[in-house]
Amino acid sequence: MNDASLAAQQTKSRQLYWILQIAGWSFYTLLRIFGAATIAHVPWGKSALELTIFGAAGLAISHWLRTFMRRHKWADLSIPKLATRIVIAALIVAIPLGIATQMTDVSAMQDVGPELRKYAPALSVNMSVTIKILAQIANWTALYVIWLAIYFAVVGLRGYRTARLKQSETARALQLAELRLLKSQLNPHFLFNALNTVRSLIADNPERAQSAVTRLANTLRYTLSSRQDELVTLSQELAIVSDYLELESMRFEDRLRVESHVPDSVAGMHIPVMLLQTLVENAIKHGIAELPAGGLLRISAVLQDEVLILEVENPRPPARIPTAREGVGLRNARDRLRLLFGDRATLELDLSKAAVATARLRIPRQQ
C-alpha cells in the first residue's frame, strides 16, 4: 500500500471515530434528559444542563482512554487479556463518575414517589448512600464496557480488512514478478527467428523441420515449467541447451560451431535451472550473431575442490564500444545465484582475452 492511500485511510478512520463518538454520546445524553424529564419529572432546563455536562465528561474520558490504550497497544492483546483490561479500565473511570453523579441533584438516585413505587417496587427506596454510589458506579462501568467493546470491534474489523487487502496486494506483486521472470526467459527474438527457420525448413527439408518443431517444443516446455528456485542436474540442463543450440545452428548454419567438454563425473551435479541456458543464449547473442563469420561456442565443466566450474566461451566481435552495463540475463542470473547460494556461488564475465569472452560460473557441490 502506498503512503497516499495509507494517509487517506487514516483520515477516514479518524472521521469515523469522531462521528461515532459524538453520535453515541449525544444519543445517550438525549435519552437521559428525556428520561429525567418524563419519568423523574425534573425540569427540562436543569436536566439538560447537568446531563450535557456529564455527557461531555463521558466523551472526554473515553477519548483520553482511547489515547491511553493506543499508546499501550491494547489492540494487539489477546482476547482474554483485552477483556480483563476492558473491565478494569471501565471500573476505574466509572468510580469518580459514579460518585460525581450521586452528588448531583438530577442524576442522583432519589426516593421515587409513591405512585411509581407501586409499579416498580424494585426502584425503592431506602437504600443507603453507599449502595446508591455503588449502583451509579455499576451504571457507568456497564456504559464504558459497552463503549470499549464497540471500539475494539470496529478496530478489529478494520485491521482484519487491511490485512486481507495487504495479503492480496502481496500476492499480486508476486504474480507480477513471476510474469516478468517468464518474459525475460522466453526470448522472443529467438522464438520468432526459430519459427521463421521452421517455416523455411518445411519446404527445404521436411525431416529437419519436424525435428526443429520437437526441439522448439522441448525448449519452450522447459522454459515455461521451470521455477525460479528450482535445481536440476547438469545433464538435464545440457539436454535442453543442446536442443537450443541445434535450433540456433539451423538458423546460423556454418556460422555456429559448438564444442562441449562435460565429463560424466559432473553430469549429476545440481545447478539452478535455466542458468547455463542463459549463458549460452548470451554467448550466441553477443558473440556468434554479431560476427559475420560466426565462430566457436565452447561449453566446459570441471569439479575443483568441491566447486563446480562451468564455462561458456564465445568469440568477441572486434572493436565494439564496450558496454558497461550488463545484460538483463546476466543480472537476473546473478540475483538468482545470490538468493540460492548467498556468496558461495559466483558468476563472472571474463573479458581479459581480446578475442574471446568467457562466462564463468562457480557453484558449490550440493548435498
Binding site: 521463421n196 527445404d204 560476427l291 566481435p317
Partner: protein
Amino acid sequence: MKAMIIDDEPPARRELRRLLTDFSWVEVIGEAGNVEHAAAMIESLAPELIFLDIQMPGGSGFDLLTRLVHLPQVIFTTAYDEHAVRAFEVDALDYLLKPIDPARLAEALGRVKSARTTQTPQRDAVLEKIFVRDGARCWFVPLREVSLLSSEGNYIRLSWGKSKPLLGRALAALEQRLDPNRFFRANRRQIINLDFIENVELGVNGRLHAQLRGGPEVEISRRQARLFKTKMSI
C-alpha cells in the same frame, strides 16, 4: 524490379526468396549476409528494392542505410524489432515481421509498386532522399527540404526544418550526387539550397551574403560569387 535480400540467416533468405517467386515482377538479383557485403553489392548491382533485416552482424540495417549513396526502396524484415522500425518518423518505408505473412508481403510490394511509378531511381541520377540517423532517431530526409549542408570534419550537418542531424559522410563525396540546379557550393565548408535563399546582400568586404529562410546567413566565397551571380542571373 530488381531486388536484394539482406539477412544474416540463410534459412530466412531462402524463405523470402521462395515467397517472392509469387511475384514475377520482382527479380532477386542478390543476397547478402552482413552489412559490409551488402553495402558493396548494393553499390555495384544498384537494386531498386532491398529487403533488410535489422539485426545483423557487424552493424544493423540502419547502419547499412547510413552508408549507402545509392538509396533503394527499403522494406524492413524483422523477427522482433518492430518497435525499432516503428520509431521511424517516416511513412516512406514498410516492415514485415518474420515469419512473413504472404498477404502482408503482397501488401508491402503493392505499396512499393505504386511508389515506383512516381519515382524511378536511376543509377547516376541525383539524390532525392537520404537516410539519416541521429542517436536513436532515423529519417529518410528528402533533400529538397534541406536548406544547408555544413561540413564538420568528416561529417555533414544537415539543416532540415528544426532538426540538425549529422551525416557520416564527407561533403565533397556527397556534392557530386546533389542536384546542381538546386544546390550550390557557397564556400569551402557549406552547400546551400537555392530554393531557400530569401535575399542576397553585398557585404562591406565585397563578398555576397545569402540569407536563408529560417536559417543562418551564409557567406559566399569570392571564388564562387561570380558563378553564383551567373546562376542567379544577378
